[in-house]
């Protein structure tokens, strides 16, 4: 005997799991704090870099023109993404630190479904954040750059903003996977940033060609290739998207494997 008055077939399953994750995300302050921080961080970066680019050093030539969207993308890579990756981290590793992962698994006991639901919740949030930051950031960069702003059409700005959204959405899935493997907020953030940014930067600054090549295929490098802000564009943007997709799937696979094997 059970669930006498509740409809038997409706709800639940994957859609229910996603709805539940969504409800959890919007009902904690940290989600909004992360989003607000990302806006502030990208805004600060755009203003500081924009203004400094248009003021030539004494005795230097007139400054070259700068594409506004690249300033916004730079702000996202160097500052904004930290806040947004924290958002994804809290969605999974935060539940381990509060113990609420056990409640989540009571609601959604199929672990792979739980992990996919979390991914499906954070992807649209980070994608939208990336697109909006990309568009608003490029307009703000226009103002900050002033006379040195290179002309950029609307569709060009939108394409750049979509690339930023795609980068964040796929990175978020990778972080969800890492969170399921590492199970602590600090650990997930550390592993995440080392993998996304620090390791590729270290490898690419090495003088050995092989290491530079390897470094170009880490998530951060792939993201910069996708957004068109890599230093010497090692491969086309589409390849960058595929590399990021690979990392996202790898993260999910690793997270799922360990989730299924371990006790909650």
């Amino acid at each position: 005997m059970s669930a006498s008055d509740a409809p038997r077939r409706g709800g639940g399953g994957f859609a229910g799991a996603v709805a539940s994750e969504w409800t959890k995300a919007i009902t904690v302050r940290s989600t909004w704090a992360c989003l607000a921080s990302a806006v502030v961080l990208v805004g600060l970066y755009v203003v500081i870099i924009g203004v400094s680019l248009r003021s030539p050093a004494p005795g230097a030539d007139a400054p070259a023109e700068v594409v506004p969207s690249t300033v916004a993308a730079g702000g996202l890579m160097i500052m904004g993404q930290f806040a947004l990756i924290t958002l994804a981290t809290l969605a999974i590793a935060g539940e381990y630190s509060t113990g609420s992962i056990r409640n989540t698994l009571q609601c959604v006991p199929v672990r792979g479904r739980m992990l996919l639901a979390k991914s499906a919740m954070v992807m649209p949030i980070l994608f939208s954040a990336g697109v909006l930051l990309g568009l608003a950031g490029s307009l703000a960069a226009d103002a900050a750059l002033g006379t040195v702003a290179a002309p950029q059409s609307g569709p060009e700005r939108l394409t750049a903003a979509l690339a930023m959204g795609a980068y964040l959405a796929l990175t978020a899935v990778l972080v969800i996977g890492i969170g399921a493997m590492v199970r602590s907020v600090a650990g997930t953030l550390t592993v995440g940033f080392v993998l996304i940014l620090i390791l590729p930067m270290a490898l690419q600054s090495a003088s050995v060609h092989l290491l530079q090549t390897v470094g170009a295929y880490f998530p951060g490098s792939a993201g910069m290739a996708l957004m068109g802000i890599a230093e010497d564009q090692p491969y086309p943007a589409a390849t960058g998207l595929l590399v990021l997709l690979g990392w996202a799937l790898l993260g999910l696979l690793g997270g799922m494997t360990l989730l299924n094997r371990r006790d909650a």
Partner: protein, 314 residues
């Protein structure tokens, strides 16, 4: 109906749950007793699919927990009341749970009313007292109106009113034909709540029996008498021994007589001409029965000084 079959959980070289085979039947409250570290929580976590059994199975109505499409509508569990995000309000916590299983939002307000948290439903759950947290956990268990309920130490942190409320709730849920499985370390609580007892120690099944059987079976009727006169007391003790009832002296002037009824002891005292100040039955409490059952299975025993064993009678 919860069915455990050869359920075993090993952590390293320690067996937390050892070959447990038990059926927990619907329509009654089954108490789950055992000393700390006996494996109660591990067993419940395995039923809920949170821990993987090393061997054996735990099923609810024949299915493992993760097989249900709407698990919250089949099994409601309170395992760890603190396992929630402290920054989320109680209502939103329950709302997120409800959405995962297609449970309508009005049911959230309903269970908040049932557990008496309606007034504080919009407060952060982190600001709740231990007792309010337990109530919220119970609300979560009731959310899907499930046929099976599992409560791990539900009265922890509750005030006397709350304890009485949980007791009534468990009884009425069982009265509606549901399976109710409640763990507790409070024997006195189980005595008032449970119809049936599953007792484990060091992960092993010690008893699986109706509570009346546990109470009566583990100890013969015991009678307490007080005989103020020393000579009369030793004379009566001798007569009792001859009659087959060992009598244990209880300072300053008492005797504890095992295996006898009140009238048998009263008659013997009359025959001996002994003056009594007390003649009363000393029924064993569940606590005593439990101590006897789990006596040598306590995981972390505090060394105690043993009293000299009472003289054995023939």
């Amino acid at each position: 109906m919860i069915a455990l079959r050869q359920l075993t959980k090993r952590y390293g070289d320690r067996l937390a749950v050892d070959d447990l085979t038990v059926d927990i039947a619907p329509g009654r409250v089954t108490g789950f007793l055992g000393p700390n570290g006996a494996g109660k929580s591990t067993t419940m976590r395995m039923i809920m699919g949170l821990d993987h059994p090393t061997a054996g199975t735990a099923t609810i109505g024949g299915l493992e927990y993760h097989r249900f499409r709407h698990p919250l509508r089949e099994v409601g569990a309170l395992l760890d009341a603190k396992a929630l995000h402290p920054g989320r309000s109680a209502r939103n916590h329950l709302l997120a749970m409800a959405r995962s299983n297609g449970i309508p939002a009005r049911r959230v307000d309903e269970v908040l009313g049932i557990v008496g948290l309606s007034e504080v439903a919009r407060q952060r759950a982190g600001a709740y007292s231990l007792g309010m947290g337990q109530r919220l956990g119970i609300a979560g268990a009731l959310l899907g109106d499930p046929g099976t309920l599992i409560f791990d130490e539900p009265v922890n942190g509750l005030d006397p009113d709350g304890v009485r409320w949980v007791r009534g709730l468990a009884r009425s849920l069982a009265g509606e034909g549901r399976t109710v499985f409640v763990s507790s370390h409070l024997m006195s609580e189980m005595q008032l709540t449970a119809d049936h007892l599953v007792v484990i120690g060091r992960g092993r099944l010690i008893t699986d029996a109706p509570i009346v059987e546990v109470l009566s079976g583990s100890s013969p009727a015991t009678v307490r008498i007080r005989v103020p006169d020393t000579d009369e007391r030793s004379d009566l003790a001798g007569r009792l021994r001859v009659a087959g009832f060992p009598a244990e002296p209880v300072p300053p002037d008492g005797l504890l007589v095992r295996g006898a009824t009140l009238s048998q002891v009263g008659d013997l005292a009359h025959a001996a001409g002994a003056r009594l100040h007390e003649l009363a039955s000393a029924d064993p409490s569940l606590e005593e029965a439990y101590m006897r059952l789990t006596g040598d299975s306590v995981e972390y025993r505090v060394p105690t000084q043993r009293h000299p064993a009472p003289e054995e009678a023939g």
